[in-house]
């Protein structure tokens, strides 16, 4: 019997900063994914990866991260906005893979203490995702004024984010299924 493989959609927590509120957003997105039938997920905390910083790119590939990206059908990147862009270490981690990403879906969850909710970091990500071979979806989740969205224990205070995450994940999973079908069945030429 040909077993249908589940979709694998890991969540990348893209900051190492102490006291990071993005961890709450990542845990929330992880929980929403865990409710989805046919989807497996994991939290990948870039603070736990042991990547060299005296080199860059695929020369510093880390086996656990590379394996997760190879198995992934889509990724959720949870990124705070630092000085209007993404954390340098997140880019360093993402740059360590390439073939693993190609024709896979990616969605960005922006986190910020300001009202714009990481919209600028999401925009900055678009050319990066394109060059990595990832396919960006058109829904985002913006956690603006994040100190008011989660309490100090990480509990969600604003239930509107459940609906917003649902829209985002519906699109991401649809794209993940389509792209997996393409990777499996549609030759380039």
């Amino acid at each position: 019997m040909n077993e249908v493989r589940h979709l694998y959609v890991p969540v990348i927590l893209g900051t190492t900063r102490k006291g990071r509120m993005s961890a709450y957003a990542a845990q929330f997105m992880l929980g929403q994914l865990q409710k989805r039938e046919g989807v497996k997920t994991d939290l990948i905390d870039i603070a736990e990866l042991r990547l060299a910083v005296d080199d860059a790119g695929e020369g510093i590939k880390e086996e656990c991260f590379s394996t997760a990206m190879e198995h992934a059908d889509a990724i959720v990147i949870v990124s705070p906005e630092y000085n209007h862009s993404f954390p340098g270490l997140l880019k360093h981690v993402l740059d360590s893979c390439l073939k693993e990403y190609i024709h896979k879906a990616a969605g960005i969850v922006g986190v910020a203490s300001g009202a714009f909710g990481g919209t600028r970091v999401i925009e900055h990500f678009q050319p990066v995702l394109r060059e990595l071979g990832l396919v960006s979806i058109f829904w985002d989740v913006n956690f603006g004024t994040v100190e008011k969205v989660f309490d100090q224990r990480g509990q969600l205070l604003d239930q509107a984010y459940v609906r917003r995450a649902d829209k985002f994940l519906n699109e991401l999973i649809w794209m993940a299924k389509v792209l997996r079908y393409g990777r499996e069945n549609i030759p380039l030429n």
Binding site: L98, K99, I102, E184
Partner: protein, 51 residues
Amino acid sequence: MRCPNCGTLMNRHAEKAIKDPHTPKGEVIASIHYCPGCGKIEAEPEPPNDL
């Protein structure tokens, strides 16, 4: 190409320029293959061309 993991015929679904400072153009084109059986991904350099 057969999958080195499970032997399934892989699908060549993309070509991607990959940086390679050791080549005259600074990059090579790689074919990207995906295994429908287990999800394994392989990248195979293409022969040099005029791109």
